[in-house]
Each structure stands twice: as structure tokens, then as C-alpha cells.
Symmetry: C2
Subunit: 162 residues, 2 copies
């Protein structure tokens, strides 16, 4: 395997590791725990689940893989802060959507040819991309991998201490 | 710039972005706030600062850049849990060490030739590395970038809400 292929393999693997680690935290939390705030006055676990799902859903158009699957989550979990909207989907539904969105993303990510990672993401024009070639799909993968780690660190605070 | 160079540039840039973002959170916190727990019964901010410094310090030998600069931090902030050791360094000293370690790392990281990122890190033998070439220095950079995001998500909980 050449270095370029290896660098993409490592980046994709790192993304998958973070998804798995987030799922591992989710598996340790009951629905009651997910309804708790991660710290006093802060987001609830359920909001972080919905937020992560909505942000990953937005990766589908951002990476030019296709349309968002659950655009109805965006006003609830990206535009609105936690507890400002009374009605949010039940946890079992959010968990199913979280899995659905990631399964779709993973299929696209695993099938993307190496060179395609260096093409533009959808939030930059072709004209500007010529000047800023680092604003590519690979960069989106990196920043969203970090985003997921950030919220996993918070979600893990809901796990019961022994 | 070819794709391989670009992939390393993006990875290094992502690392630097996470350091900057962590520093931006630190800048918003008073010493009193850093002495608080991020959530009831969880690590204090000061512990996360010491822990991140100790882990980054360990990256120097792990990436084969040189010896750790502050090995005295490892028993306090890696091997020991928070509040199990009474005497820890004062915050102003930890902040200086955090900067010192990252400055050293950054200088090495920015000077490492692209091909060198694909050589082994220090926790794998040359023999095993032949079988698992993904266990290279680039992989360490990715995993530590995620590690820092994880703890930044926690540290940010200490920022006062308006």
C-alpha cells in the first residue's frame, strides 16, 4: 500500500473508531440517564445524541454523497439549543436514526476512491476551492471526527461511577 | 502540492486547530474555575490540564522526537486519578508546562518530512510494524488530536454561561 492510500485508510479508520467509541458510551447509558444533563445547566445526553445525528446527517450533502436523510432533526438539534423545543423524538427513534445515518455515511466513505477525498466539499465554490485546496472532503472527515470526540467526552460523564 | 503532502498538511493543521481551541477554552477560565469539577464527582479542570500536558509530553518519545520534558507529571496525571494525590503543581506552572511541551512538539511536527509520518511509532517493534504499517506516527497524531478534543469538550463545561 502506498503512503497516500495508507493516509486515507488511517483517517477513515480513525473516524470509524470514534463512531464505535461513541456507540460504546451509548450502550452503557439507560434512557433515564440520557435524559439527564451532562453537567448542571448543560445539554442533556439526548440532545447530544440528536445533535450528533443531525450533524452527521448534514455530512451527506456536505461530502456530496446525497441528500440529508433526516433534515427534520436540524432545527431541533443544530439550530435550537437544548430544552428550547418541547417536543423531540423519543430516544429509541433517535438511536435508530443515529445508526441509519452512520450506516449510510460509512457505505459512502468506504467506497470513495482515494483521489476523491481531495475534491471540494459542498460549502465551497469551485472558484474558491482552486485557491484553498485544503478545503476538501478529507478536511470535513477530520473535523467531524474531532467533533464527535468532543461530544463523546461530554456524554461519557453520564456513565455511572462504581 | 500533491495529494500526499496535502493530506499531511491537513492532519497537522487539524492538530494545531485543536491545540488552539483548547487554549481558547483555557483563556476563558480563572484559576478558581479550573479547580472545579467538570461535573459532580468528576475530574477537575486542573487535572485535565495536567493530564493533557502529560499525554502530550509522552508524545515526544512516542513519536521518536526525543525524551519527555516533564516525566514527573506522568505519575500525577496519567497513572493517578484526580484527587488521589494531594500535592500537584500550581496552575500557573502547569500552564507554562502545557505551552512548553506543545511548543516542542509543534517544532518537531512542523519539521518532520512527509515520508517520516509513515514510519513506526515507538510502541511497536520493527518486526511487528512490517505487518501493521498503519501503526505509524501519523496514526499517533490522529489519535492524540481526538484525545484532546475529547477533553476540551469536558473542559468547556467550566465556562460560565451568560
Amino acid at each position: 500500500m502506498n503512503y497516500l492510500d495508507l493516509s486515507i485508510k488511517i483517517a477513515v479508520n480513525n473516524w470509524q473508531l470514534q463512531i464505535n467509541a461513541f456507540n460504546s458510551v451509548l450502550d452503557k447509558l439507560s434512557d433515564d440517564q440520557l435524559m439527564c444533563e451532562i453537567a448542571p445547566g448543560r445539554n442533556r445526553g439526548v440532545y447530544l445524541l440528536g445533535h450528533s445525528t443531525a450533524v452527521h446527517d448534514l455530512m451527506l450533502p456536505l461530502l456530496r454523497f446525497g441528500d440529508a436523510v433526516h433534515p427534520e432533526l436540524h432545527p431541533l438539534f443544530v439550530e435550537a439549543a437544548d430544552r428550547t423545543i418541547a417536543e423531540i423524538p423519543p430516544i429509541h427513534q433517535l438511536k435508530a436514526q443515529w445508526k441509519e445515518v452512520n450506516d449510510s455515511l460509512t457505505a459512502h466513505i468506504n467506497n470513495l476512491p482515494v483521489e476523491e477525498w481531495f475534491t471540494r466539499h459542498n460549502n465551497i465554490s469551485e472558484e474558491n476551492f482552486e485557491k484553498e485546496p485544503q478545503r476538501n472532503r478529507l478536511n470535513v472527515l477530520f473535523s467531524r471526527t474531532n467533533h464527535l470526540s468532543y461530544h463523546r467526552g461530554q456524554l461519557a460523564l453520564l456513565i455511572k461511577k462504581h
